[in-house]
């Protein structure tokens, strides 16, 4: 199958993720959308790896997974601490600082 189709899928997933970050209000869901964007990048890497016939892209996909896992650890810690002190994970409620 033509690898270009996987790239279209990756772009589509990335766009869904980016849209989700912009329109969703729950910090956890926003964060999940970021993860979707990272996974879309992974798909693109693997598709390009197949296209070019070298392994770089697949290696990067592993690194991205590790980085995403580290990001989950840090992100959930921050979001949970916010939730515990406010009883809400909405990004709209977090507005102590304004222009």
């Amino acid at each position: 199958m033509n690898p270009v189709n996987y790239l279209y899928l990756a772009a589509l997933l990335f766009t869904i993720g980016a849209t989700g970050v912009l329109i969703r209000r729950n910090a956890i869901v926003v964060f999940m959308c970021v993860e979707l964007m990272l996974n879309a990048c992974n798909l693109a890497f693997v598709a390009f790896s197949r296209l070019h016939g070298n392994l770089d892209g697949q290696i990067i996909a592993f690194f991205t997974m590790v980085v995403a896992a580290a990001e989950v650890v840090v992100g959930l810690a921050i979001i949970v601490s916010l939730f515990r002190s406010r009883h809400s994970a909405s990004v709209d409620d977090a507005s102590l600082m304004k222009l």
Binding site: A18, L38, H52, G57, F63, V67, A70, L82, L96, M97
Partner: protein, 553 residues
């Protein structure tokens, strides 16, 4: 390449001698050239172990000792590398093409290490807050996991807990920052970006006072930072798809069309300008987010205001140095072939950044937000030097970064001193008449503000002069005019703060100036000294930056 040949790359190790996987050589790592980064990472790992095994009472001293030794040792390693000619004649690429060891990398690494050392002193300050239950406390939460205002928080404070994890976190962030401007392939760039960002997200959430604001800042920084790094990663994916390689040198060759060996797949993607343009745009966007350039600056004021002030100072200074280093390398090493495409865009970004930063800063009433918008404006000034696309452009940006980072960290260190019952008094109205009450602190802060404004005899002037000169010679004269205009606008609000401090009546319920330990005094002293020396006698450092201003490729 035929489908079966491609397939054989990753299926069944029917290990013949011709199998490419069987032929992978052990990587050759130049440990000596990577020593600065390795020292910092090693010390950070030891710091984590110290958290686990050193008794709570002596952790602060152990961590402090470890961090100071590591930063000084790493700086010594950078100096040794530079003295050994690795910045000039012996500049090269280490670690199988992953890390460049060249002039700009060593110059920026040296700057970052010194800034981190000064930042560490402000992190370790324990005399500003009043003692809690007989224990000296620093600017960080007693126990970050405890809910603000809860009983468990009170218990943690009573037990005298302190978050000594900030020291290893600082070191990990520094390690990422050291690699970021030296990265020579896109994967290293991305990993360094995350290694520098993740500890900073955590550090932002750790303030002792105003914890809700601190947590909010951390969430905003984290979500926006993760969003931006996802864009960066997609840009990297597209560039990889375009060039079939992650290495800066190879991508640059593909962009120029001088790549020695063109496979059929590469021939197909090379002609696809959409991959190249969109990929570079997304990648550069991620870097502009890190430097805080408009329109990717939204996080800056909130995060700078909410984060603990020592963290803000460190972050404002060191992150900017690292991110501009990486941006310079991307634009000058990877994408010089595209400069007719990126220069107009960067023109626009620089103009909007300078003007928006300076104009919005006028309306600010909080000193930390004011400094945040000032840092946005300064990002614009530095971008003017980036646009020059000449060797002078590189060296002027290097000099500006070194000068600016010490001013910033000194200014935020002064902000930690002015306090009232609720912690730091950051509202500008509370700073009225500070010059009458404590002339020395106000005078020091005035020096920093004058340096931000770019008044002669301060480092700000030499830096701005170098950057604008390079930009004008690089054919960006209109940009210089706009830069000077926005400097004038910016000077207005810096001078306004000085007038407020010295020429208005102190309020009776005004803040007091805490007497810090020698740690913060050293930090502020170094800031003032660098500001004055680089302002009065900049030539030696300009020459140093000039020698360092050549990228290896």
């Amino acid at each position: 390449m035929s489908a079966t040949a491609v397939h054989s790359l990753w299926t069944t190790a029917a290990a013949t001698a011709a199998d490419p996987i069987g032929k992978i050589d052990a990587p050759k790592i130049e440990y000596g050239q990577l020593a600065p980064t390795l020292i910092i990472i090693g010390a950070a790992v030891l710091g984590i172990l110290a958290e686990a095994f050193v008794p709570r009472r002596s952790r602060y001293y152990a961590q402090m000792f470890l961090s100071v030794v590591a930063l000084i040792a790493a700086f010594a390693a950078v100096v040794a590398l530079a003295a050994g000619g690795h910045g000039t004649t012996k500049a090269g690429i280490a670690a199988m093409g992953a890390i460049a060891v060249d002039g700009p990398a060593l110059f920026l690494q040296g700057t970052i290490l010194l800034v981190a050392l000064v930042g560490l002193f402000t992190f370790a300050e324990r005399r500003l807050d009043p003692e809690a239950h007989g224990n000296r406390v620093d600017s960080f939460a007693a126990q970050a996991a405890a809910v603000p205002g809860s009983e468990s928080e009170q218990r943690a404070v009573k037990a005298g807990f302190t978050t000594t994890e900030v020291f290893p976190l600082l070191l990990f962030a520094v390690a990422g920052m050291l690699v970021f401007p030296a990265a020579n392939d896109l994967l290293t760039l991305f990993v360094a970006l995350e290694v520098l960002s993740l500890p900073l997200y955590l550090l932002c959430a750790l303030a002792r006072r105003k914890r809700l604001m601190s947590q909010e800042a951390a969430v905003k920084y984290f979500l926006l930072g993760a969003f931006a790094s996802a864009f960066t990663l997609f840009g990297i994916a597209l560039l990889y798809g375009y060039a079939g390689s992650m290495s800066y040198g190879t991508i640059a060759q593909v962009v120029d069309g001088t790549v020695p060996e063109v496979t059929p797949a590469l021939a197909g993607t090379m002609g696809n300008d959409a991959l190249l343009l969109v990929g570079s745009a997304l990648l550069v966007m991620g870097l502009l987010f890190k430097v805080g350039a408009v329109p990717f600056h939204m996080w800056t004021p909130d995060v700078y205001q909410g984060a603990p002030t020592p963290v803000t100072g460190f972050m404002a200074a060191a992150t900017k140095v690292a991110a501009f280093g990486a941006l310079l390398r991307i634009l000058y090493v990877v994408l010089p072939g595209l400069r007719w495409d990126w220069r107009p865009v960067m023109w626009g970004v620089a103009i909007v950044t300078m003007l928006a930063g300076a104009i919005v800063a006028i309306t600010q009433t909080d000193i930390k937000r004011l400094l945040a918008y000032s840092s946005i404006a300064h990002a614009g000034f530095i971008l003017a030097g980036v646009i020059a696309t000449t060797p002078e452009g590189i060296s002027s940006v290097l000099f500006y970064l070194a000068a600016y980072s010490f001013v910033t960290i000194g200014a935020f260190a002064v902000v930690t001193l002015v306090r009232d019952a609720g912690g730091e008094a950051t509202h500008l109205s509370k700073w009225a008449g500070l010059g009458r009450r404590s002339p020395l602190v106000a005078a020091v802060f005035a020096v920093f503000l004058l340096a931000f404004a770019g008044i002669p005899l301060t480092s700000g002037f030499s830096g701005k002069f170098a950057v604008f000169k390079a930009a004008a010679e690089g054919g960006a004269a209109p940009l210089v005019v706009i830069g000077v205009i926005s400097s004038a606008i910016a000077a207005f609000f810096y001078i306004r703060v000085i007038v407020l401090m010295f020429f208005s009546e102190p309020r009776p319920e005004g803040p007091t100036v805490a007497v810090p330990s020698p740690l913060t005094m050293t930090a502020i002293g170094v800031g003032v000294a660098v500001t004055v020396v680089l302002g009065v006698a900049p030539q030696y450092f300009l020459d140093l930056a000039g020698q360092a201003g050549v990228f290896v490729r």
